[in-house]
Amino acid sequence: MTWWCAASKEPWSWAFRAYPGIWLFMGVLLAGYLLAFRRAPAGSADADRRKRWAFVGGWLVLWLSTDWPLGTLGAGYLATAHMAQYVLYTMAAAPLLMVGIPEWMMRRTLSRLRAYRTVRLLAKPLIAGMVFNLVLLITHAPITVDNLRTNEAGSFLLDVVWLLSALLLWLPVCGPLDEVKPSYPVRGVYLFLAAGLVPMVPGGFLTFSDTPLYAVYELAPRIGGFDALDDQQAAGAIMKIGNLPLLWPVLAALFMRWGNEDKKPSVPTPSETANPPA
């Protein structure tokens, strides 16, 4: 029984492979989310409906990118699939999950875990950006991938760390806690630097390396004659530009909101309301 996707020396085939650990994880995640609505504050149902769709969307993306076949391919066959997984985790699943969490749920969860102060500190853009990129660099270092992807526990750890770092990345941008969100322009610059610019560095190394860097993918059974070096270069390209389809629209939206914010009339202060100008 294989609980989580990990590298194996079995030749690749499209025969379905079951990973009960992934199903359990995904089931607990969704059930926990939906059950939490039983204790939702009164009057929040309408506002939460759209959030629920967003969360389910993120959950689906997370599942599809973790389970067979993409998860299997990414764990032990193709660096390209590994990188596609990472991009889906960080640029699709995480923002949707973050958008899908209602404020009351986040506050209640953090309160129960006594983690509010920690999360608030981690969510500062400076720290969140650094953590996200450190995780990116460390989890894509050949020594990490070659050692963790070859066993189920390591592979599980890698996936969970990816997800948590991605949730942290998006928390100051689209999370439910307004107090951790900086202004729109800062959010835009933060996202551009943290999610757009820095990943280009390791992506470049993968693209321009003369030799395959990851043993796990170099020595994996070949799929359709896809050369290991070509695979790695394609993975590097995905790391560099795979985030663009989401990143640029989000940046555009942030700057448009910034523009709209400037157009709004300023709210009069209580003293102005009491003493209107003559």
Partner: protein, 397 residues
Amino acid sequence: MTTKTEPAPSSPTEAAGPERNDRIHLVALLVAIGGVVLLAITAIALLNDDDSTSTSGLGDDAADAWGGALMSPGKDRPDFTLTDTAGRPYSFADETRGELTLLFFGYTNCPDICPVQMAVLADALDTPGVPRANAVFVTTDPERDTPERLRHWLDQFEGGEAFVGLRGTLDEVAAAEQAADVAVSTRLPTDDGDAADADYEVGHAAEIMAYTPDDKAHLAYPSGVRSEDWIGDLPRMMDRWGSGTDSATAAPEGGDAPAVEGGSAAVGDITVSDAFAAASDDLTAVYVTIDNAGDDDTLVGVSSPAAGDITLMSGEDGAGMAEVDDVDVPGGGTTAFAAGAGHIMVTLDDPVEAGDTLPLELEFDKAGSVTVDVQILSWNAMVDRIESDGSNGSSGS
């Protein structure tokens, strides 16, 4: 749209606070991200350095270990004759004698080891600076591996067109395996025990035998060897068991090919010879000897259709090199662009690899122009060449 829940500021000074905080935040963010990028670059560069030293074979302790399994004493190069994919008899000993040769027994339907071993080897042999080697693949499944299928399978690898594919009867293949002193292959029963099942697998030796110019295999490379292991080991094999001749510069056919002289050509009384340079991605120094049997002449220009900027470099040992516009070629003498005395620096349009040639046109004031094919050598071979030549020349003005 988000709404701030913090209390409204009560004074202009206070109102400026959040904006100023944002600016500070922004600057700090930029500095921090810049720091992370620098850290990342440094870390990855260090990792790459570690990788390159561990595979360069340049002699640190870690690099002393071979990527393959060392065999002592080495195994003799086997003597067997099979048929290549073109239907011609191929005598392994005769065709590869004195050359770096990698021999593998496998089959094209192999689900795991064979395609990975061959892909890894192909990647390594395709890397600039790695000595050229004969790669010979003997099928252990001649029933399914027709010549066409074998050729097609080999061709799919990077540079696989140069790989030799050999077939024979099962007995001939077994004899070849015994001659190479590897495990004799055997057809494995399928899961359902049906011997007639077309999806059968073949058990075979997983290692690639590496024969060096001394006609011995000192190393065997089992499954799991990476291309960086090959890239590190192949030049070291040549250093240690080569005959002083880099197989990168040896003729592909026949075993008696002499060490290649650099390219040569003549115009009028001038003979340009011994032109060679090291494999490189972008910039290489060309060394060349010019014999002038006539009157004094001057080298006034150098160009190449495969290069951009080309500069003549001249200088005395220890005095540093300097760019010069032209070089005197005295009559009745020899002018050599040699290590420590001068070279022609060429900015390449495309990378050149060992075994390639680079056309170089030399223009002389009186004799006219002549094009010489510069022989591209691996770095190690070039160093050997320079050392064997010694400082035997001087450059002109």
